[in-house]
Amino acid sequence: MAFTLEPEALARLFPAHILIDHDGRILRFGPAVGHNIPAMQVGDLLTDHCGIVNSVGEPGFLALARHSGRIVQLRARETGVVLTGAIVAGGPRILLAMHLSPVSLALADESPTDMAATRRQITDYSPGDPSVDVLLLVSMQKAMLEEARTMAMSLARERQRSDGLLDRVSRVAGYLAHDFNNMLSIIRLNAQRLLGYGALGAAETRLVQMIAETAERGSGITRSLMTLSRERNDSPTRLSPDAVIELHVPYFATCAGGEVTLKTDLQATGAMVLAPNAALVNCLINLVLNARDAMVGKGEIVIATRVLSAGEGIGPEQLQISVTDTGKGMDQAVLTRVFEPFFSTKAQGNGIGLPSVRDFARTLGGEARLESHENVGTRVEVTIPVVAQEMPGTAASLCPASSSQADAPLPAPRLKCGRHVLLVEDEPYALEAVTEMLEWEGFHVIPACDDASARAALAVQLAAGHPPDILLTDILLPDGNGTDLAAFVESQVPGVGVALMSGFVPQTSQIRDKWQFIPKPLNPEHLLSAVRALPPRMAEV
């Protein structure tokens, strides 16, 4: 059977066809051949451009005519493109009705999806060639993977950016808390001075006590800020959630807002969990903020703890922290999505608060649950495995000196103890208050407001034969560093007692073994007991 195809029709049916004569000279070729073997020209010998990959029984192109109807596979020498098709021999011409092969049958070294490199297009393939669908599907998958990679990189960059921002915010919060601590120190110390004078009437005494209590609440807030700014990369540690909550109540109350009453009902005293301190505080802040947002106007938030017995919770003994509000509650549709990342019903909500609470709990081997009733309120329960039960009070090391101590008035003046204290503090009001307090206690105080004046005062004392017994210095000084000053004083006065004060907790490498550290805001009792506890100077022994 003979049939004739117009060149255009042939090109549509077999875009990669090659027409040769019996000498193997190229008479015509399809557009796909032109795209993929650009050096090929009419009149060239096919052998100049292609080799036969499969065997058709005999070597060489001259044998092709004898194998009409067989399948031949050619490989372009220049581009590596593989063409597969039937040999159609008739008369003086041989038609090689070829198709582009997505994968070489003989040599699988051509990536089927490297479309950019091969510069192929759909029209290079014959109509209905299943290779097109395969290539498009593989290419879609490749694009999906590429997009996933791009998205992962973009998320990583976002994470870096937000980490950087958080780090800066944390540092600024730390600096602010530090300065605020200094001011609170002054207020507390001077309130103590006023109370210590003992000449106030009942009304004035009550006012001074209010000032001291307010300063104490402020101290609690700065303490929480310092915790959050300092312990961003905190690792799990054994802690008592009750002690942590108690410590941060002033901060939670601030987060709850003025119109909302925050109460605690802590029934898990001594129960210890393994958790990162700042992460626990963050978890509670998230819950308190959520509860606050759920309330219109006045309301109540209760933070409660209790230990669930093995039967009540999941697995072993669990500690349950619950935050309950009297807000508007949620409907069922919202309730089913509350832990979904980025879901929020609030205009300014980012939808990461509750999911992060659940992540926190699950990371620690616990769980987070939420119960809500419309117009009644919401209760979120976080459970964390209990790792130990300690006697009440032993976990108090987490909390700095309690406020009750701060409110105690100064005792009556003591007899002069005769010990000389070189006191360095750049806040003049704090310097004045601490000077008076120490003098009240019988110390001889040499005040200095910075590093230079401290060194000058030291020189004077040394020349007079009265070296200081104690150096009490702030760490951050306007013209230097308290730790450097301490090292210098120690070199000049061997055996001098050293106590450092700061709103920041210094690195332990900066503090020598015998030095004391006194955190700010200063608690008068804590300060005095630390100074009194310093051993006598070696020279005196």
């Binding site: 950019a116 297009q121 759909i122 029209t123 669908d133 599907l137 694009a143 791009t150 019903t345 980012n350």
Partner: protein, 185 residues
């Protein structure tokens, strides 16, 4: 992918901060912008509506602008090799769009793809037929064809021929210096 492209268009025109505000207004987050996911049309229309208002455009204008942007967006990301593979000329590209969409449907069951065909091809232009299970996206297709003209280095105009019968008909008229012409209906 539509959502990701809409976000990109608004970000390019109004900045990232403005887009983040709109995202909050729409209560959407990253999960709503994963390219190869089938989303509810209602979400897409909400994004379109909010974006159009932010850009100061009517819905129709926004769709057309978005169609033009769409080609550029697809061309610059991981789908660029698929775009190249689909065709080296505008006519080939449009002719092969259904094949490309078939691969999308196979990858994303549930995706509803349109159909395109080249009804007439002449030196001076193309007559393109478009039909879709969705309604009201003709301005988007107009913008898409404009974007394709730009992609293939062509200048000219795209006209949506009046009429309500399916398929919708578009004339793409190429303009060359010193010549004029069109496709006859």
């Amino acid at each position: 992918m539509i959502h990701a492209a809409m976000r990109q268009m608004v970000v390019e025109r109004l900045g990232e901060d403005q887009w983040l505000k709109l995202e909050r207004e729409m209560q959407l987050g990253p999960p709503d912008f994963i390219s190869l996911t089938v989303y509810d049309d209602a979400v897409t229309l909400r994004i379109l509506d909010v974006s159009a208002r932010a850009l100061g455009l009517s819905i129709e204008e926004a769709l057309r602008a978005f169609g033009r942007f769409w080609v550029r967006f697809a061309d610059s990301g991981p789908f660029s090799s698929m775009m190249d593979f689909t065709g080296k000329s505008m006519a080939d590209f449009v002719r092969n769009l259904d094949l490309m969409h078939r691969a999308v449907s196979a990858t994303l069951p549930g995706a509803r793809m349109p159909n395109f065909s080249v009804a007439d091809e002449r030196a001076e232009g193309l007559r393109i037929h478009y039909s879709s299970p969705r309604e009201g996206l003709e301005p988007f297709v107009g913008g898409l064809l404009e974007g394709l003209m730009e992609r293939f280095g062509l200048t000219g105009e795209v006209h949506h021929l009046p009429g309500t019968t399916r398929p919708a008909k578009f004339d793409v008229l190429f303009v060359e210096e010193g010549s004029s012409g069109g496709v006859h209906s």
